[in-house]
Amino acid sequence: MAVVHLVSLDYYNIDRQPHITVNSSFCPTCPHQACLVTCPAECYTKDPERGVQFSYEACLECGTCRVVCDRGAVTWDYPRGGFGVGFRLA
């Protein structure tokens, strides 16, 4: 199943303000762009101009991008209390 279908199974309470921001000026020259392949929610996608495009809505709050990005492009925090993903069967 594609990631869009997988995350559509999940329950989210999406905040208006993003909990993660990405300074994509680092991305075009990033040698590994590991966020693109490792983010299990596919929040990072290839962008012809900026290298990488980020959207926070489907985030599973795992912390992977926080660790794989070694260029300081990712500012990572938890969503505000009560917002974000909510697992029921995990």
Partner: protein, 430 residues
């Protein structure tokens, strides 16, 4: 709401709720903070809870806790592109109190355990994100600041905030996480009627099985897969070393898909409805990633301290979280009795952990992490074992060879030097 407590515990996972329960029982005033809607709503794992740690704190907890199935069988599978081999262990003892392990769903279980802490007198605050530790002028930690700026003061804080532990990280109490010391777990929860689960897995009513898989479907990425039976669902997932995964350019859900396409797994999940998709990191560095555990006014427990034991065949974290939460709380209670909350006094927490299964086991298996980083375990050896067995059991009308001749031949294909080195390493490490 009073904002001063004897103890503030950040995170209502197994480590935090246990710490809050034990401290509240001993008469400390405790605030237990949880960022999720309710305890468990942010949490995922495989998984099974091994009973021993919680049974010490809440005797016969299995009579009241929301558990899925008593695990009565354990199956270890080696999988190659074309063959599979299983070691299937079952024991009737596992079906009787005090049991060995239960499958659980965190959203239900964590909520229940936090409820036990509340019953003991702890104040649970949900939808509450601790932003940072407060450090006093003397250098001692004095509680936490919440996301909205509210301060919660306490002479002792237990960081039980999980693998990402931003609190410990921001205060510099823990070095940054490394990709080679982490595994990414992704999982699908799939619904099936209980009798179908029992039928397909060969189980008695209410009983469950814990199945792990090592082999070629990870395409050489360190890690493996699991299937756990819940009452009405199967938890099917993969755990993948993050450094290997980044290099492999495989996506995590693709590896899970490859696993689900394995013929045996496809049969097992046929007709099952996917119900949830989840992901979480696992600290897998073992003893090597355990930081300083106590400071003036702070202790780290559970995943925030890196307490996960991955011996290759067992993945234990929830039970280590529970024991470490208990020991941190007991250390705090004793420190209050002694009237000494210094780093040295709270440092007894480490000694207690060393005397418990937590640091004792992490120490015993301290070489497991580097041993498991060897990708021959995931590719070459399953293939070797499978072809050995294939030759032994295949009846082809050609003259048979003796077992040891077959074994030597197949091991020879691995390369003697590597095989010997790995054998020695396995004795030393596992």
């Amino acid at each position: 709401m009073s904002t001063a407590y004897d103890l503030v515990v950040v995170g209502a996972g197994p480590a935090g709720s246990t710490a809050a329960l034990v401290a509240a029982r001993s008469g400390l005033t405790v605030a237990l903070l949880e960022r999720g809607d309710h305890p468990g709503s942010k949490n995922m794992f495989g998984g099974v809870l091994h009973t021993h740690s919680l049974n010490e704190i809440i005797p016969r907890f299995y009579e009241e806790a929301p558990l899925e199935r008593a695990i009565t069988r354990r199956v270890i599978n080696l999988v190659t592109d074309e063959a599979s081999l299983a070691l299937d262990f079952g024991h009737r003892k596992l079906a009787r109190p005090p049991y060995n392990a239960f499958s659980i769903i965190r959203s239900r279980f964590d909520r229940w355990l936090a409820g036990k802490a509340q019953e003991a007198g702890a104040l649970l605050l949900t939808r509450t994100v601790a932003q940072e530790l407060i450090r006093g002028r003397s250098g001692a930690y004095e509680g936490v600041v919440l996301q909205d700026g509210t301060e919660i003061h306490a002479p002792v804080t237990i960081c039980a905030d999980g693998v990402n532990s931003l609190l410990a990280k921001k205060a510099g109490l823990r070095p940054p996480l490394r990709t080679d010391q982490l595994a990414l777990g992704v999982k699908q929860t799939l619904a099936l009627p209980p009798d179908v689960i029992e039928d397909r897995c060969g189980l008695q009513a209410g009983e469950g099985v814990d199945m792990i898989y090592i082999g070629s479907f990870t395409r050489g990425v360190g890690g493996g897969a699991f299937v756990y039976t819940n009452s009405r669902t199967l938890s099917v997932g993969v755990t993948l070393n993050l450094a290997d995964l980044s290099r492999s350019r495989l996506r995590p859900e693709q590896v899970l898909e490859l696993f689900l396409e394995e013929p045996r797994i496809a049969e097992l999940v046929e007709g099952a409805a996917p119900r949830e998709y989840s992901a979480h990191l696992i600290p897998e560095g073992g003893a090597h990633m355990v930081p300083t555990l106590a400071h003036h006014g702070v202790m780290l427990a559970g995943d925030s301290a890196g307490f996960v034991l991955n011996s290759g065949l067992n993945l234990e974290g929830a039970n280590l979280a529970i024991t470490s939460g208990r020991l941190a709380a007991e250390t705090a209670v004793q420190a209050y009795l002694d009237g000494d909350l210094s780093a040295q006094s709270l440092g007894r927490y480490r000694t207690a952990l060393e005397q418990s299964h937590v640091l004792a086991d992490l120490h015993t298996f301290k070489g497991a992490h580097s041993f498991l980083a060897n990708n021959r375990i995931y590719t070459t050896y399953p293939q070797t074992v499978a072809s050995f067995i294939e030759e032994v059991i295949t009846v082809g009308g050609t003259p048979k060879r003796r077992l040891h001749a077959i074994a030597l031949d197949h091991l020879g294909k691995v390369g003697w030097r590597d095989a010997l080195r790995d054998l020695v390493a396995s004795r030393r490490y596992i």
